[in-house]
């Protein structure tokens, strides 16, 4: 590139260190012979001076040098006129560089390649030397093109640029600017936020070469910060974080902001951090490279919580009084991210009298151990072990619609379960494990109840109804294997759920326990969500069956909000085999929705198969 001559139109005397205020910047295009005010010309961005700014002569000279050497101008001058108010009006008069018109366009990726060295042309060179100089320049550039990598810019955009070149005719600097903007726009729209056009080459040939730096990642840096933002040692192991990063965020790939967002979402789902940042930063050591920085603020590892309930009820004379002085409530504690591998222990105790918990103590103690196969293994298996107890009203021991008041039976379960869950996608998973349980059936007074009630023909109720437990003593102990496989590919499309959800659940008795229960209890649920025009449809089918020993509390029940709506839980019957089908329509009407549903439950003739 040749340095254009610099000339000054001295209309004022310049002082070396005096500061001048620029009130306006004008651009004078010598070719078009037009003057435009600063912001309207596309070259405005090349000038770092701003109207209203104060500059010294040295700064103005430097600006002129920068403009001269940028390659956009054949000739550029700076003219300064003093205005009546003492400020300067600056005119940049320039001759735009032009080159031979081109009919071919090529885009190369020069990321991580060193910049071409500008060899100064010695003005004393002979013609022959000049020729050699130009030839060697050409050869160097050709080698540069060969060494470069193909760029991501797709053919349609390249064709567009070619069209721009052909339409324009002569290749001008403004056209180059437009090409640069178009290429960068494509990269930025697709998420490659760090891509830049650094240079145009081969300008005096029929081919225009656009040199692009796409923003290749040279390093991935994970930093832990404390609450104040200082860098600190993190507890979480790096493998846990690296697992969650998409491949595209690693060294050697082009940085894409969508990959960054995906990384953010994935790391967020670990629930280990209070703040996550994924930022690209230019690499000082490798020109054109990007360092991706991930900054993480970890959550507290240990937490404990006590929440109490004091029930306040209306007392004498309507004044609110404490129903009891005993505090009821829940105590929970959590110890998370043990060993930095996202393992956790969670415990919770609930009672109506925390100071003296007795029969109604509900507890749950759970240990979660993810990455069972190792942090670096792509398989996502989690091991969970938990101790629990629960108390539920049995829907099996309810009267049908004919009988009104039937004494309820509470089913207490205490046990231990251990299982392994393998996640295939965010929603689909496969769980298998072992459960050891002790099940007690109690009546309302919390005493063990061995038989349900039976209506006598005389109208009374007798206590020698069907046995509540398998062993007949009111307490059952059993161990069985449990498995569940869920396939869920539902997605939100236009605000409605679309997709399919299939669940298969199996409880396999192993013959261990009271009366050696050997059974195979299985359920298959298939739900499909459609959307036809505006109407959302849901089709649902549920089949359940039990072969072998079936204790009454494990029988399937018909009726209830998840079974046949409109009936209480278990109101329609208890059975060994069950088939439920349902269809629902959701129709948007004006601003709300109208729902219509049909549900049918069938016991497949197996109600008698439950002990009565």
């Amino acid at each position: 590139m040749v340095c254009p001559p610099i000339s000054w139109f001295n209309s004022t005397s310049w002082s070396g260190f005096k500061k001048y205020k620029i009130s306006e910047i004008l651009f004078f295009d010598r070719r078009k012979w037009t003057t435009v005010s600063g912001t309207e010309d596309s070259f405005f961005e090349m000038v770092s001076l701003r109207p209203g700014g104060v500059y010294t002569k040295a700064q103005l000279l430097k600006e002129l040098e920068t403009l001269a050497s940028c390659g956009m101008f054949e000739k550029v001058d700076l003219e300064a006129k003093t205005k009546p108010d003492g400020t300067l009006s600056l005119t940049v008069s320039f001759t735009e560089s032009t080159w031979q018109s081109a009919d071919s366009f090529r885009c190369i990726n020069v990321g991580l390649m060193p910049q071409t060295k500008q060899m100064e042309m010695d003005p004393d060179m002979t013609d022959r030397e000049k020729l050699e100089y130009f030839r060697s320049q050409e050869k160097d550039y050709k080698r540069r093109i060969e060494r470069s990598r193909p760029c991501l810019l797709p053919f349609p955009v390249q064709r567009e640029v070619l069209q721009m070149l052909r339409e324009q005719g002569k290749l001008s600097a403004r056209l180059l600017q437009r090409i640069r903007d178009r290429v960068q726009k494509w990269y930025h729209d697709e998420g490659y936020a760090c891509a830049q056009v650094v240079n145009f080459g081969n300008l005096n040939t029929r081919e225009v070469v656009c040199e692009v730096v796409e923003g290749d990642i040279t390093k991935l840096d994970v930093q832990f910060q404390d609450k104040l933002g200082n860098i600190c040692e993190g507890n979480t192991q790096l493998g846990v974080i690296r697992r969650e990063l998409p491949k595209q965020l690693r060294q050697g790939h082009v940085f894409n902001i969508e990959a960054g967002k995906q990384a953010l979402r994935n790391i967020n789902s670990l629930a280990l951090f209070s703040n996550i940042e994924v930022n690209p930063r230019p690499d000082e050591k490798n020109e054109g490279g990007i360092i991706v920085e991930i900054k993480l603020k970890e959550l507290d590892q240990k937490s404990a919580d006590v929440s109490t309930e004091w029930s306040i009820v209306p007392g004498r004379q309507g004044r609110p009084t404490l129903a009891s002085l005993q505090p009821g409530g829940t105590v929970t504690f959590e110890h998370r991210n043990i060993k930095g591998l996202n393992r956790s222990i969670l415990g919770s105790f609930t009672s109506s009298n925390l100071l003296n918990p007795q029969d109604d103590l509900t507890f749950k103690l759970e240990y979660v151990h993810p990455y069972l196969d190792g942090v670096y293994n792509p398989r996502n298996r989690t091991f969970r072990a938990s101790c629990f107890n629960s108390r539920k009203l049995s829907p099996v021991f309810t009267g049908g619609s004919a009988l009104e008041e039937v004494p309820p039976i509470w089913v207490d379960r205490v046990g231990f379960k251990a299982n392994v869950t393998e996640s295939f996608t965010r929603q689909s998973k496969f769980t298998y494990g072992l459960v050891l349980e002790e099940i007690t059936t109690r009546d309302e007074t919390s005493s063990i109840c061995t038989h349900g009630t039976r209506a006598l023909p005389s109208g009374g109720l007798s206590m020698d109804g069907p046995p509540t437990t398998l062993s007949g003593t009111g307490v059952d102990r059993m161990a069985f294997a449990q498995g569940n496989i869920t396939r869920d590919n539902t997605k939100f499309v236009n605000g409605a759920i679309v997709g399919e959800r299939n669940v298969f659940q199996l409880d396999q008795g192993l013959g261990i326990g009271s009366k050696f229960p050997f059974f195979n209890r299985h359920q298959l649920t298939i739900t499909r969500f459609f959307q036809l025009k505006e109407v959302e449809e849901v089709l649902h089918g549920h089949y359940g069956g039990c072969v072998g020993d079936l204790p009454s509390y494990d029988a399937f029940t018909l009726g209830g909000p998840y079974s046949v709506r409109g009936y209480n839980m278990g109101e329609l019957g208890a059975c060994r085999n069950i088939l439920e089908v349902a269809a629902e329509l959701r129709i948007p009407v004006k601003n709300t929705h109208v729902y219509a549903f049909v549900e049918h439950g069938h016991d497949l003739g197996s109600s008698k198969g439950c002990q009565r």
Partner: protein, 312 residues
């Protein structure tokens, strides 16, 4: 659920002499075969004439009969002894209530019969009904489910109101043949007995006429339209059934409880498990893998792997 101690069969003396003689003959025949106690179970729909038949056999009005009311829910056993021979007849409530089989009544009957042995089942229905429908089959099915298929080897079909005028166009013999054929067919269907088996050990059909209008012969015995004295005939058929070589049904707790549904199918569990694993679980797993394969990947991922070939 009254079952009073056996009393002397005084009612037999109210039967005509010829009938008494025949009955004594049949009872001694049974005693010869070492059968000194016979328990007869009388079952059927409501209002067919069970209690009347019982009264006719015993010769006294032991069971209450009311034409328009449905009977109570209680089975009653009447025991009578005569010359060292004990006859127990169990009269039961009707098995149909409100168009459905009355499971509760069946339950009560079963409980009543605990630890008793049934020698003969009398299934009673009316000769002068024309239709046999699914309800009849369900009644038979319930009886079979409760006591087992074997009870029909000791079963008799008793058709009451035998002194009926058949509808126009049919003669008595024809009418009787068709009615009994229809009922027997439903017994076979309800009890799920194979055709061949049924033909080999057919259920005998006996006619009865319990009303006071029943015609009598010269000896004063109640006779059917064809001239047979029906009470001795019935007892004869009962005796034949007892001595036909099949075994009586003992009603024990196991029979009452029925086959334990918990045990049914246990044998198949390993097969079921294998089916569930290889078909159901693997199918869902394959579907999940397909989901993963078909998941539309965003362009930035595709471009990176070179899959999109630089398309938009």
């Amino acid at each position: 659920m009254a079952s009073p101690a056996a009393r002397e069969w005084l009612g037999i003396q109210s039967l005509p002499g010829a009938t008494q003689t025949k009955l004594h003959e049949l009872l001694s025949k049974l005693k010869q075969e070492n059968v000194s106690t016979v328990t007869i179970l009388v079952m059927g729909k409501g209002g067919v004439g069970k209690s009347s038949t019982v009264n006719s056999i015993l010769g006294e009005r032991v069971a209450s009969v009311s034409a328009f009311q449905s009977e109570g829910l209680r089975p009653m056993m009447f025991s009578r002894t005569r010359a060292g021979f004990t006859l127990n007849i169990v009269d039961t409530p009707g098995l149909v209530e409100g168009g459905y089989v009355n499971e509760q009544a069946l339950d009560i009957i079963k409980r009543f019969l605990l630890n008793k042995t049934i020698d003969v089942l009398l299934y009673v229905d009316r000769l002068d009904s024309y239709r046999v429908d699914n309800l009849d089959r369900l009644v038979i099915k319930s009886i079979t489910d409760s006591f087992g298929k074997e009870i029909w080897k000791r079963g008799l079909l008793v058709l009451t109101h035998a002194q009926v005028s058949p509808p126009d166009g049919l003669d008595y013999a024809d009418f009787y043949a068709r009615r009994s054929e229809a009922l027997l067919k439903f017994i076979r269907l309800g009890a799920r007995i194979k055709k061949q088996e049924f033909q080999d050990s057919a259920v005998p059909v006996v006619l009865a006429e319990n009303s006071g209008r029943c015609k009598t012969n010269d000896s004063g015995e109640k006779v059917l339209p064809d001239g047979t004295a029906w009470i001795p005939n019935l007892v004869k058929e009962i005796t034949d059934v007892i001595l036909n070589g099949s075994s009586p049904i003992t009603v024990d707790q196991k029979l009452i409880d029925g086959p334990n549904p918990n045990d049914q199918g246990k044998f198949f569990i390993p097969l079921i498990l294998a089916f569930q694993y290889f078909f159901v679980a693997k199918w869902i797993k394959r579907a999940i893998k397909n989901d993963i394969k078909n998941e539309s990947k965003p362009l930035w991922e595709l471009r990176d792997m070179g899959l999109a070939n630089r398309e938009f």
